[in-house]
Symmetry: C2
Subunit: 454 residues, 2 copies
């Protein structure tokens, strides 16, 4: 039996590792093809590497091809799969360095091609100095440009997680940074009032934040980026980072006849199966959102790892399912911490929920304890039932990971009333005697139980 893995990052290599754990080399041959030079690395760490906070690229690599080989998993980097024949059970593979193409047969196939940065038509350019940050190669190229060209002005397009993290990286490197966001607030994954708190912090860092501004084109000079053209004028740029989200890489899958979902990602069953003997996992797939009960595309390493593990267990003869996501995400912008789980107000409305919200200001520690700083907690609950639909946190320290308690509550369908009784950890260095989570739940409970005139 032979397993072929297309894509050597989190999802693909997790699948390979789990399959190997359950089936020895005599039982299952495992062969992974990766288009790039690196496998099994933390793409999430790239902004911190660019900013000089962590070393790279080696430190970001969890496991090298050599280490996989020792574990009985053959990895071929710089090998691009260019076709899949589901009937013949073969893939076509091009060795990018040797320029050779050959066919390889499989019994099981893991499709884990990831996602690629969205590049609007205006971003099509051969000019130097325009970057996405998805792969270690992207990171290397951007660092090389910064080191060699020493640009003074950076423009980051897109105020989501990647955009905000990249803006911080550029500030840390001493550039003047403009962050351009089309919406009224950055960080559109949280509600606008919470986004406004993030906006204030971004500006405090010395980043020029331009919201409500639409990019219209890139201006180049002598084959290099010179400025970003927007509906509010041109912004000079010696380097541009585009952080407008990613789209699942599905071209190969589509050509092979694998099913795509409504989000554009590959559709799988709960066991990560896309077709008989064909498994898909990671950023190229769509996942089930447990609260909206819709398919969503949430390209995060944590999901990719879990999905890959599930596929690998199933390939290995075990039984595992991926239970879906609830939209938990955390990010850090210097000392600002932002977190969310469940549905935002807008997502809840789109999913058909009538909601109430409650927002509280509290502190991370007992007010009298050294290091106590403010944090804002927002709760989104179903109006007539009080079921917790989502929560958001903006704070300075010891704030973001508090979202996990909310996440487990969302996962279990708790109501805000039930939550007021939760037995959470209390000691003065860790929380006020009423934890911010409990205060938020109490305030939300009051709104839920208030009579509603319809």
């Amino acid at each position: 039996m032979r397993l072929i893995v297309i894509g050597g990052d989190a999802a693909g290599m997790s699948a390979a590792a789990q399959a190997r754990r359950r089936r020895g080399p005599d039982d299952l041959e495992i062969l992974a093809f990766e288009m790039g030079r690196f496998v099994s690395y933390s793409a999430c760490g790239i902004p911190y590497w660019i900013g000089g906070l962590v070393d790279g690229p080696d430190a970001l690599i969890a496991r090298t091809p050599a280490a996989f080989r020792t574990a009985g998993i053959e990895v071929r980097t710089r090998h691009e799969v260019t076709g899949i024949d589901l009937d013949a059970r073969t893939v076509t593979v091009r060795d990018r360095d040797a320029g050779r193409t050959r066919h390889e047969g499989f019994d099981h196939l893991v499709y884990a091609t990831g996602a690629s940065p969205v590049r609007p038509s205006w971003a099509a350019t051969d000019a130097g100095g325009v970057f996405g940050v998805q792969t270690l190669e992207d990171g290397s190229a951007l660092r090389e440009w910064l080191d060699r060209e020493k640009p003074a002005d950076a423009v980051v397009i897109g105020g989501g997680y990647i955009g905000v993290e990249m803006a911080e990286a550029m500030i840390n490197r001493g550039l003047r940074v403009t962050l351009v966001e089309r919406a009224a607030q950055p960080m559109g994954t949280v509600d606008e009032d919470m986004g406004a708190l993030v906006a204030a912090s971004i500006r405090n860092l010395g980043i020029e934040l331009r919201t409500g501004v639409t990019v219209e084109g890139l201006e180049t000079a002598n084959g290099r980026i010179a400025a970003v053209a927007t509906d509010a004028g041109a912004i000079p740029a010696g380097v541009v980072v585009i952080g407008l989200g990613v789209r699942p890489n599905t071209a190969l899958a589509e050509a092979a006849g694998l099913p795509l979902g409504t989000t554009g990602g590959i559709r799988t069953d709960l066991r990560q199966r896309a077709a008989d003997g064909v498994w898909a996992a990671g950023d190229c797939t769509e996942v089930h959102h447990r609260i909206s009960r819709r398919a969503v595309h949430v390209p995060l390493g944590t999901h990719a790892n879990k999905q890959g593990r599930v596929a690998g267990i199933n390939i290995g003869g075990g039984y595992a399912t991926f239970p879906g996501v609830i939209g938990t995400a955390v990010t850090k912008l210097c000392d600002l911490e932002v977190a969310r789980t469940g549905l935002s107000s807008r997502e809840a409305a789109q999913a058909g929920f009538a909601t109430v919200t409650a927002t509280v200001e509290s502190t991370n520690r007992a007010g009298y304890f050294p290091g106590a700083v403010p944090m804002t907690v927002k709760v989104i609950a179903e109006r007539d039932t009080g079921v917790l639909l989502g929560a958001q946190i903006v704070g300075r320290t010891e704030a973001a990971k508090r979202i996990d308690a909310f996440a487990v509550a969302v996962w279990n369908g708790m109501t805000v009333s039930e939550m007021t009784g939760l037995d959470l950890g209390y000691a003065p260095p860790y929380a006020p005697v009423w934890d911010p989570i409990l205060i938020a739940a109490r305030k939300a409970e009051e709104v839920v139980t208030r009579p509603v005139i319809r």
Copy 2:
């Protein structure tokens, strides 16, 4: 209508505040008697005040008698209730300063007398230099002794939360500190293997930790403490802090005929009612443990506040219940963080559960991220069902409050298998891509699903 509150700290004053919120002064007169000089303070902050980390006593006071008065709640400090007549609906109150005693009638009574430090018979002494730390007065007296007598050697008796926190306080003040614990490991609320990690950290701080040592008496000289006599020899002491836990203050309640439970605490119903129109809350009561399904005595400010709030809502004409506890607790010893929730291995066995455990070593942040330090996570699950019964964490930073995610999982009766799919917050500054909680759940799942030969 008149509400009398006995005991002016967390439980009593929370009840008063909630009752007042729902019923105005014309509808309900509220009168609170407090034996000591202070009301509504954070007893949990006392060790940090002793250690000089926070100011006191004022900073530890959440609300003064004057502030309560403004809110329509009359508070009499230095007033000791010496008797309750449930038939006559009166209490006997002694003004400790004026020396007068009088009777006061009530319609509702809140009994919130708290708990007192356990003092074994060997601890009965009039000698100076022996302290418990339960009230702000205790804290003041201890600070005064330290400032005036400048003892060189402190002995802290009892290696639980208070003992450990007080040992740290004494070290911070520059004393030589010996911490004496009868059991094999300190912090008996966590399993012995986790306690051993705590022991190592205590010793690293320069605290002389003596485990397996039983105190037999106090040696005094010239009316002052001189040494602590143990079964392993005498330990010189210029100051002794006794941290052997607390017992509910129930003498008054018992005399009045209020029901006591098996733990010695006052027994109430879910609404915190001990008798018709009589409510009890806080450290003087016992509570329901949701996992062992037994009554337990867990004297923590967080429960006292919640119970007091429940009593106050009910007195105010609302409806509220206290859902019980699951044994969550967190503590900090310099940079060591210790947390637990649910049942420990021993508690689980006592409650009749057959258990399996899994312990993992991970880090608080992605391994490559600056500030990544080790943390140890232990999971205790029911052997045949995989239901999460408890969890414990020992780490250096960003560790203890992770217990809240476990706490919510325990609260909801999740299995460790279900937990492996949880959507927890991931970003390199906050967690490895597999959060330590997920790694622990995965390891526990493997143990649970392993066939058991009986």
